[in-house]
Every structure is written in C-alpha cells, then in structure tokens.
Symmetry: none
Subunit: 283 residues, 2 copies
Amino acid sequence: MPPVEVAERIGRANTSLTPAERRVAEVVLERPQLVAFGTVADLAEAASSGAATVVRLAGKLGYDGFTGLQASVQHSLASQLRPAAERIREPAATDAIGRHLQFELDNVSTTLRALEAVALADVVAHLAAPKCRVHVLSGDASNGVARQMVGDLLALRDDVHLLDGNDVAVRRKVSQLRSSDVLVTIDLRRYDRWVIETARSARAGGVWCVAITDSLLSPLAALADRTLTVAAASGGPFDSHVGTLALSNVLVAGVADRLRLQATDRLDRAESAWQSTSSLMDR
Amino acid sequence: MPPVEVAERIGRANTSLTPAERRVAEVVLERPQLVAFGTVADLAEAASSGAATVVRLAGKLGYDGFTGLQASVQHSLASQLRPAAERIREPAATDAIGRHLQFELDNVSTTLRALEAVALADVVAHLAAPKCRVHVLSGDASNGVARQMVGDLLALRDDVHLLDGNDVAVRRKVSQLRSSDVLVTIDLRRYDRWVIETARSARAGGVWCVAITDSLLSPLAALADRTLTVAAASGGPFDSHVGTLALSNVLVAGVADRLRLQATDRLDRAESAWQSTSSLMDR
DNA sequence: TCTCGACTGGAAGATTCGTTCCAACTATAG
DNA sequence: CTATAGTTGGAACGAATCTTCCAGTCGAGA
C-alpha cells in the first residue's frame, strides 16, 4: 500500500542510500501519511535522523527537495482515496488479483473464526507437552505448509518430525510411535489414501491425533481426537492453504506462549549461534 | 466521502455563514484533499475568496484557526486511507485468536494490494516460459512456503527446483544455472546471508531474478530484476508467511492460466495415475 | 597510527505560510 | 440620501518551515 511513485524511486536508489537515509526511506514506505501530512522535522524524528538527511534523501530520489517528495506522496495518496471509497460500494472484484484477495481473506477469516478457544487450548497443550514427540503428517498438496509448521515448532521445542519420505520409511516411523506421542495430520478433500491409513494406524497405536482438514465429515475427523477445520477456497487450480497456514501460526504462537521460558532460551541460543557466524543480516 | 467531523460542524453552523464563508465551506466539503494537502491561499483561490475568510470560517466552526481545521480533515482522511473496512467489523482485538485474525487479514490485504498487474504479468511470463528452468531459493524461515510454491508449480510444469541442502550442494547447483533460467528468491528481514550471496552469484551469471521480500530496501531487491513485497506482521514469535503464501497462490494461478493446455494435460495424467492406484479418496 | 573521504546533524538563512488588522465595500434601515 | 452594521479581501506581521552550509564524527585504507 505504499505509494508506487516513491516506492519505485526508493527501490531504484536502494544501493546508493546511506544508513541514515535508509532509515528515513523506511519510514517513508511504512508511514506515507507522515510524509503527506507532516513536516521535515516530523520525518526526521520518526527516523531518528536530522532534518538535513531527509532533504538529502528527497534530492537523491530525484525530487525537488522535500517539497517535491511530499507532493508526490500526496498525489499518490489522493488517487488512492477516491477509488477506495468507490470500491467499498462495489464489492465486485473484476481483476484477477482482487478475486484472489477476496478468496484469501475469506479463507483466513472463516478458518480463524471457526477456531474455538477450548479446542485451540487443548491442541496447544498437547503440542507443548514436555516429554511427548510431535509428528506431522500431511497430504502431498499441503506438504509445504506442514514443513512450515514443523520448522516453526522446532524453533520452540525438540522432537518435532515430519512424516514423509517413501512409503516404507513412513511405515517404519509410524511403527515406532509411542502412545505418549502426538500426531498432527493435515489433509484436505481428495484425501491422500496413505495419509488416512497412516493416521489410522497411528491412532490405533494410542497416539493422540489432531486433524486439520476441510470438513468435520472428513475421514480424518472420524479418527481424530480433535478436529480443526480450515477453508481453502481458491481462484486458482489448487486449494489455497493460506487459511491452514494462518491456523498453524495461531497454534505455533500458542505453543510459544506456553513454553515461554524454554522457548526464549532456545531462541536465544539460536540467536547467539547466528550472531557468532553472522549468518543473518539486517540489511 | 466528506469527513464526518467537519461536515457535522458545517451543518451546525449552516445558517450563520456569510456568502463568502459558504463558498469556502462548499469547497471544504467537495474537495477535502485541498484542505488536507493545500494552504489557506489554495482554499481561498478555489472559493474565490480572501485568505482571511478561510481563517474566519475555521474559527466559526470551532477550530483553532485553519491549522485546526486542516488537522481535523487530515485525521479523517488518514482513517479512510487504512484498510479499516475489515477491522471495523471486528468487535475487538482482545482475544488471541481475534488478534491473529487481524494480523493475517492485514497481511493478505496489504500483500495483494501492493501487487501491481504489470509486475505480476512479468513474473508469471517468466515462470511460464517454456524452455527455462525455475529455481526457488528461500531463507530458512520461509522454507515451507517455498516448498509449497515448488510443489504447486511442479504440478503445472517441469523443471522447477528448490535450491536447498547443504551449502556445497547449493553452490554446485548454482554453478550449473544457465542464463535462460529463472530464480525466485524468498527471504524476509533478518536475511539469511547465504541466500543473499547465492542469489547474487546467480544474478551475476545472468539468471533472471525475482525477489519476494518484505521491503524494497531489502538487499534482495537491490539485485533482483523484479521485486514483489509482502507483509508479514504477526501476533506470534515469528514472521507470518500467510501473505507470502497468498502471493504464491496468485503467481501459481497466473502460471496455470498461461499454461492452460499443457497444464490440464499434465493434471489429467496425474489424475489418471491417482485413479489407477486409487490413491485419492473423496470421503 | 595517521589521513582522507564519506556521513551526519545542528544552526543560520531564506522562503513560505497562517494569522491579524484595517480600509474599502455593500446592503439595509431611517 | 445618509448612516451604520456587517462583510470582504489585501497587506503586514510573526511563526513555522524548508533549505543550505559547515564543523564534528566515524570508518576504511595506507
């Protein structure tokens, strides 16, 4: 939602900006109103820089001083104002992007609204249980989201595993499950047979199962101890897993909240490891 | 569309306005941007009145001079500028789920609104190019989303690869890139150094690069041919990649649209393979 | 360690802007 | 026709803002 004109120029000047100028540029992108309505001093304060730096940035971007930059932002904002009011009356989304936007907003909204607090708390409690092992099982279509969940949970606790690989490997892993383990199964309509069967055999072994699926009528829901439903409507050829990922984020945040002490310790250790190898960069 | 605050006051003072003041008030209602962005002189000229009349009107409306009137209009305009339409419906943001809901809705909304049609078309064209190979490179935190994208694209076309594994493997793969290839790099702030360096060396080899990142000021944006920005605000400990996934879905849908014939053929073959092994179930 | 260059923010100067004052103008009542 | 109250816009004043200049600071390289 930042103005296109200035965003374009900032992107072009990206490499030639000094640190202080970069701070100002970030504020310009993130808070355009401050540029449109505010003054040089306001921007400078928000960016923790001097007024001169603000003016220099404007010049570097090709504008005629801060006045030129401000005029550009005002123009962009004004053009965003009219259509905004008119689009509200007209919910019809003609363009492809707008159609996707509606689908995805609806997926997120439907998925999270359907999530009940008690169900969430129950699942989180199991995922945060200290001595259990967590296994994530996913249909092929949602494999990436499942990996995302595993990765996030691994940053918070040990013993989180994705059940994948070939059929033999999965069967071997499932045979090793303990009754104290937790299984998260993610699969939507057009269910993968092997996923269902794997989940069923795990359940038969006494593993506590939570299903993340598209309907309470799903075969997954039939064998799970808890079922969380997701919306996956899409404007494209495949199901959208945006709602699923949003749900995963809520679960992960819940686990992080429960494991605050251990998790922060874990994160700190990871952080210091990154620091020592300087494998992360801020800019 | 006119700001409620001033409209209210103008309506209240309706009868006590002089002719010239009335002309100014009309302009204020019909062209609020002129008040928000302009000066006393601008308003006076638009209303064919003197500057003093403008100031007098502001005082009559109960504002502290023109400055007060302008501040009021700016405030109203700024509130109309945000995607407040979705937030207002939400009753409150007290519970954890509601907070996540707001974050994720905003991520999706901001990300897809920032997507320009021409940029989308350009990226889709490259991703759908017949003879090129597509490589996806991702930071650790967005690994799952990257895999999701690779999986979806693989359902539509050949030669889509995720650049991962150990450092040596990645370097080997990068060294094999051709100038006709396409590289999709996904990484957000706290950029993984190896991702940036890998992308840079690929770019040096003439590979067409698209960056999916959180800001135009990202180091990725500096070296990419195209940059798509995503919003990743989160109520949890980690960045949310919901917006990124939504963007990926739009890209995938675009590619599917371009490759309709080949893609449907591909999907049909996959479908029949599933059918023959009955590896998918409807219920 | 020293030098040179780039970067940065404070301060002065120039400009614009908001406010106020007041003379000119208009309309209405006597 | 005249006088008075109300209205209006130009002009001056003071405040705020933008711009420019410059000395201090930091870091890289010799």
